[in-house]
Symmetry: C2
Subunit: 114 residues, 2 copies
DNA sequence: TTTACATTTAACCTTTTGGTTAATTGTATG
DNA sequence: CATACAATTAACCAAAAGGTTAAATGTAAA
């Protein structure tokens, strides 16, 4: 839902690898777990982090719960990153002038809130 | 240097906003700090996380240390994300067959190590 | 209905993270 | 040299993250 949730979800290597596994085909929770040296409970929590970030969707089918990738959320990340990349590095020297004082919460109202 | 370090660095909203601030012009540590409601020490540690991920570079000039964005590292993130996005969602049902047993560390040797 | 299996949730523990204040380092200047 | 300023590092603390085992939930099947 939020860029923050997405970035947090992507910060863990197991979660990134889970997304990778789901790239081509959907998998059950158990099958996903079989790829990692951690308990099913641990995987389940990773899955819920990914689900809360809406990076994956789940469907129960009988005994199994299948997970599939929802890549659309990554659009926001792509936009953020590519916006940062399309930058004009214009280095200028000189005495820096602080645009606001401490405690003014100047970053609010800019691109993102905390 | 590593995708892991980059993703970790991007997982914090203050760090993302710092990169945003550096998008157009370089800034001194103090000027960066003036945008956030935390201490200079806290900002300094955020800066070192970003620097260790090679997302920013620093240059001392007299009393000041100027920081500038190094967007080239983001290339790796872009590739990883866009690779994930260019996926063919071919949902197939059926009994899942685990490709390896618990404790086999099957994710090693795939895309990424832990 | 009882049992087994797939998965999640609860309770707990350890490590990491992000914040603070205080001390340290580096540079310019009276 | 002594003082002031910019920034970092050290020491410490609270909260979050990620792991485990054990209990709970949901569904299929004997």
């Amino acid at each position: 839902m939020s860029l923050q949730a997405t970035c947090k979800a992507l910060a863990d290597p197991i979660r990134r690898e889970i997304l990778n596994l789901l790239k081509n085909r959907r998998l059950s929770a158990g099958e996903i777990g079989s790829y990692f040296p951690v308990t099913a409970a641990s995987i389940s929590r990773h899955l819920s982090v990914l689900r809360e970030a809406d990076l994956i969707r789940d469907t129960r089918e009988g005994k199994y719960i299948f997970y599939e990738l929802n890549a659309s959320v990554l659009e926001e990340v792509m936009l953020w990153v590519s916006d940062l990349r399309s930058t004009s590095p214009a280095p200028c020297a000189g005495e820096p002038k602080p645009p606001c004082r401490k405690g003014d919460f100047c970053y609010e109202g800019t691109t993102e809130k905390i």
